[in-house]
Each structure stands twice: as structure tokens, then as C-alpha cells.
Amino acid sequence: MTDKTVLTQARPNPARTVLQKPWLWAYLAATLTFAATSMIAGSDAGSLFYAALTFASFSAIVGIGQMLVITLGPGNIDLSIPATMTLAATLALKFMDTQTALILPGLLVAIGVGIGCGLVNFILILLLRIPPIIATLSASFLYQSLAIWSNRGLRIKPPESLAEFATGGALGIPNVALAGIILATGAWVLLERSIAGRWISAIGQNLRAARLSGVPVNAVRFGIYVNSAVCAALTGFLLASFSGGANLNMGTEYMLMSIAVVVIGGSSIGGGNSNVPGIWGAALFMFLIVSMLNSYGLGAGIRLILTGLVIVGVVTLASRKGYDA
């Protein structure tokens, strides 16, 4: 079954419909890297899959927030994700102070921090009319400094039972992955089945047209930026509980990761068209490619080059649909 024969066939063909899904390539890439790593891992492939699910969930949750922001159209991006993660995790863990009774209030603290950060981002963007890329980047200095100031880099452990939950699993699926799948499902329903989802895509496709047709543009943008910050805060909370404490540099790799999973997942970089299933495929792939290259003993240089090439390849394949049409 080659591409060409499929493409020349008539329209209502299920194979063609699937091939046109932009998220397909992320899953294909993830499957290939998994297969390649399994050749070395052998019987341990199951635990590799389990680890991939675990670590992909952190990227997936921040990715969902970032995806909705990017959907809003050119220039929309949230660069404050790492700092929001760090601040939310630091304040929540400090608040809980290893006490099991305070887990739920601690979660609320993290979400509250997320809402606060999203609010600040939005105020900078809308009221002060600062471009999002500058607004979120400069706000992240503020959040990072607050995190440093609040706890001076000391690492506070999560409550025992919270750590057990974050590292544990049910039905062979890690708990954090369950959280990530629930959030992704919620995002999919929001985007594909609700009027708000139409609004988000409409703004991304043409802001002016959306405004003229009565879409509450600012309310939607407000919701999206707050949502992104809350997703980041939640990830920070989960990651800190999972890895045994909040670090000042814990969010660093999620800046590029959040954007990479959106792009590899097949969402349009220009906005207006997003894609929830692709986020999970891309998040799995981003973990598995590092595992694969590490398992084959390739150095960091080759790893980075290959990662870059694969991103370019997947993005090219996923965006071909736009040129065909």
C-alpha cells in the first residue's frame, strides 16, 4: 500500500481519511522509535512503554495548554510555562510542607498560582498591548524571581501519599498518564464539540472576521491564556510530586518541549487549526527518541541533530495536506 495509489483513489476512502490526519505521523514516529528501542530492551519493552507513558504525560499536559494558545493565531505563544511550573510547584509544596492533610488545598494553591500567572500574562498582553512573546517572557522573570525569593532553592518533599500517587499507577497505566489522558479528552471535547472550540479556531483563522461575526474575542483569549498557565501549574505540581520536590530549574526543558509537541503533533504553527491526539503521539515520541538514541549509545550531538531532523521531517509530512488541497 503506497501513498500514491491511495491518493489517486476517490474521496470517500477510509485509508485516505486516516492518511490525511496530521496526527498520524507523530504516532508513526513514536511507534518506529519504540520498535527500534525494543530491539535492545527485549523483554523489558513493557517497562519502557510504562516509562514513556509516565514522562510523556508531563509534556502532554503543558502541550495542551500551549496548543490552545498557538491556535489563537500568529504571534500567540506562552513562554512563561517553565517559570509558572516552578512557581506553582514551589509554593504548593511549601504550603503542604509534607502534610498529607494539606494535599487538596495544596493542589488548589497550585491551580491558584496558575490562574494568577495567566491573569498577569493576559493583562500584559491585552491592557498593556505587549506582544505575547515579550509579555510572557518578561512575566516569566517575575515568576521565577518569586519562586527563588519564596524558597531560596530549597527542595521540599511532597507529602508521602501524594508522592505515592504520582509515581503509582492503576490498571497498568501510570496515574499521571491517566490525568494527562483525562485532560486531553477534555481539550478534545472543548475544541471539537463545543461552541467555544469553534470560537478558538475562528480567532486563529481570522481575528477580524471572528470579531465581526460576534465571537467574544477577548473573553476567549483570556480563557486560553489562563488555561495554559493552569496546565503548566498542574504539570509543575505533578512533576514535583513525582520527582521528590520542586527545583528552581525543573521547568527549563518544558519551554521547547511544549512547542515541539504542538508542532510535531500536527497542529498548524500559524494557528487556527489544532489537533489534540497529536499532542500525545508527539509527547511519546519526544521521550522515546531520547531513549532510543541513548540505548544505541549515540552521543548528545548526534541526538540533537537527529531530533532536529525528525522534527523537520514530521512537520513537513504533517503539513503536506495544506499544499495538496
Binding site: 535492545i40 523489558d44 516509562a51 527545583n247 525543573m250
Partner: protein, 337 residues
């Protein structure tokens, strides 16, 4: 303080009078710290040590000021601009933890030309006019393998956790490890980048673990041992000997394992208080003492015997630390001569 200094001056064979005069010489001197990064617990402890020690020195009248400045973005250009500002502000000495060994050489040269004493430490600069308090990173790698070789004379498989790819420190520690492994029966069967962060190390180790054979030891670079332990603990593998990097959570984990199953390992790193060593070296240079341009920082080791003591003195969530005194700085200078 003064009396102690006079005694010391006499002991080292300098005329008492000169020593007393020289001691007074730095009381109007101002020292600044130019720091490139503050975003982890080690750096936070480093800044805290600097401030504690500097405030005490100012209160005692040893120097007039000991101010710390940190750049926000860990960029060489930003740090160069910061050093230019310090030159304009008229500091007598600038102590630097540099973002790059070469990229701020121009600013360092400008400071030297303005008659300012420049002392770099940890992240050192190559500009010859500056003093360098360097860490022997290769040795840090070798010591780890030597310890493991004592524990496992027959050798075995090792997992290596590296730092941040492309950084000089990462290359050096790794070179030391690989060099020493050649003299042993060990084989490094896997190598991942943990970026000196527990969560990144945990992720990287969890990813490579399914592809690895049985491992007896894990060599690390600091800030990654606990993450490795978490990742390995999540599987049903037996726990290998993980060399730790003096972080409190690592030491705590080690003590807990020790209590439950007699787990033994070792831990070594550079104490964040090395900033105070740099401070006293700068003060000694301003004082007119002859100080060699290249000094070496001693490692801070935590062994099985002093684990309990180290845990007691290390604040929760921080890094094991020692602060250097003026006399200890003099010792370091004397051994380098």
C-alpha cells in the same frame, strides 16, 4: 581579628608591623561578586554563603563592601555588560563565576586595565590577568571510579549520568570518568544526559534502563543521584551503588537506605561556600600578598562515616556546605605556591 592576623603574619615570617598595616589596607576596599546564574539550590547556597561571609567581613571592617550581583539570563554578553558597570562603579576587586571561559575575556581585560583585581572561581575565565580558582573536574570523575573500583574489584557494568551537553564541565568530568575506567575492570554500558537536575536525570535513566544489562554502579555529576535512585527504584532491579553529589535529598535517601538495608556509597562535590574562598583570595590580593594565578578548590566529600554528621549540618533541601575562613584561604594559597 586584627590580633589573629598579626600573629599569623609573624608566623609566616612577615614583619608584624607590615602585616598590621597591610591588614588595615583593605578596610576601604570594595569587592563585588559577578554571578552568572542563580537558578538552582547550589547557586542559592553559594550566594547565601557569600552574603553571610561578606556581611561579617564588612561589619568587622576588613573590607568596605561585598556586594553580589547576578545576571538574569546566564548569558556571557549580559555578564560582560555587568562587569563594565562594576568598573564604572569603581570596585577594587571583582569576583566572577563566569558564564563562559572565553566570552567575557574582553570585559575582564578592561577591568584589569582599570586596575581592578579580578578573581574567577568555579566558572573560570581564561584571560591571563585574572586569578583562577579552578575545580579539577577530571579528578572529580576519577575519584568516583576509584571508589567504585574499591567496592567492586572484579568490575562490572556502569551507567554514566552526564550533565548539560556542550558545557565544558560536563566534558571534563566525563573525560575523567572514562580515563579512569580504562584502568579498571568496569565497562560503561550506558550514558545519558541528566542536565544536573533530579527530574531530568530521572527521566533519562528511566528511558535507558530497559535496554541495560545488570549494572553495579552509577557515576554522576552532582544534582542527579536522587533522580537516578528514583528511576531505578521504580523498577524491580537491585539498587546499584550510586555516587552522590552532596545534595541533602541524596544524603537523606542514602541514610534511609543505609538504615533499611545497609546501603553504602560515597558523595563528593564542590562546596557552594567556594565563593567565600574566592572572596578571601581577592582580599589577600588587595592586601598586597603574593598569590599564584592558579589555585585549586578542594572537594567536599561525604563518606559513610560522616554521613550522619553531614545530614545534621545540611539544611533540608539544600547542599552540604562549608564556608572558608581567611586562614583557610591563606592555606590554599600557601599550598599552591
Amino acid at each position: 581579628m586584627t590580633l589573629k592576623a598579626i600573629m599569623l603574619g609573624a608566623a609566616t615570617g612577615i614583619i608584624t608591623l607590615t602585616a598590621a598595616v597591610a591588614e588595615a589596607d583593605t578596610s576601604d576596599k570594595r569587592i563585588a561578586l559577578s554571578n552568572n546564574y542563580a537558578g538552582n539550590s547550589w547557586r542559592q547556597a553559594m550566594l547565601e554563603s557569600w552574603q553571610k561571609n561578606g556581611d561579617a567581613a564588612v561589619a568587622e571592617g576588613v573590607v568596605a563592601a561585598a556586594d553580589a550581583f547576578t545576571t538574569s539570563e546566564n548569558q556571557a554578553t549580559e555578564q560582560a555588560a555587568q562587569i563594565q558597570n562594576m568598573i564604572l562603579q569603581g570596585y577594587d576587586a571583582i569576583v566572577i563565576n563566569a558564564a563562559s571561559p572565553t566570552a567575557i575575556n574582553g570585559a575582564v581585560k578592561a577591568a584589569c586595565d582599570a586596575g581592578i583585581t579580578v578573581v574567577s572561581f568555579d566558572g573560570i575565565v581564561q584571560e591571563p590577568c585574572a586569578w583562577r580558582i579552578a575545580v579539577d573536574f577530571q579528578q572529580m570523575g576519577r575519584e568516583q571510579v576509584k571508589y567504585l573500583a574499591e567496592r567492586y574489584p572484579d568490575g562490572g557494568n556502569l551507567l554514566e549520568i552526564r550533565g548539560l551537553a556542550g558545557v565544558f564541565v560536563d566534558d571534563e568530568i566525563s573525560a575523567g570518568i572514562h580515563d579512569e575506567v580504562k584502568n579498571s575492570n568496569f565497562e560503561i554500558v550506558g550514558s545519558v544526559h541528566g542536565d544536573w537536575a533530579q527530574d531530568v536525570a530521572q527521566k533519562a535513566v528511566a528511558g535507558i534502563l530497559p535496554s541495560l544489562p545488570e549494572i553495579v554502579g552509577v557515576v554522576t555529576q552532582g544534582g542527579d543521584g536522587y533522580g537516578a535512585a528514583q528511576a531505578i527504584g521504580a523498577t524491580d532491579r537491585s539498587m546499584p551503588t550510586i555516587v552522590m553529589g552532596n545534595r541533602q535529598d541524596e544524603l537523606q535517601w542514602w541514610a534511609d537506605e543505609q538504615a533499611s538495608n545497609g546501603y553504602e556509597t560515597t558523595s563528593l562535590s564542590i562546596a557552594p561556600g567556594v565563593s567565600t574562598l574566592a572572596f578571601w583570595v581577592a582580599q589577600q590580593i588587595l592586601d598586597g600578598n603574593d598569590v599564584p594565578k592558579d589555585l585549586t578548590v578542594p572537594f567536599l566529600k561525604v563518606t559513610q562515616d560522616d554521613l550522619v554528621e553531614a545530614l545534621k549540618t545540611t539544611p533540608k533541601g539544600s547542599v552540604a556546605n562549608v564556608e572558608y575562613t581567611q586562614d583557610q584561604a591563606k592555606d590554599v594559597i600557601a599550598t599552591a605556591k
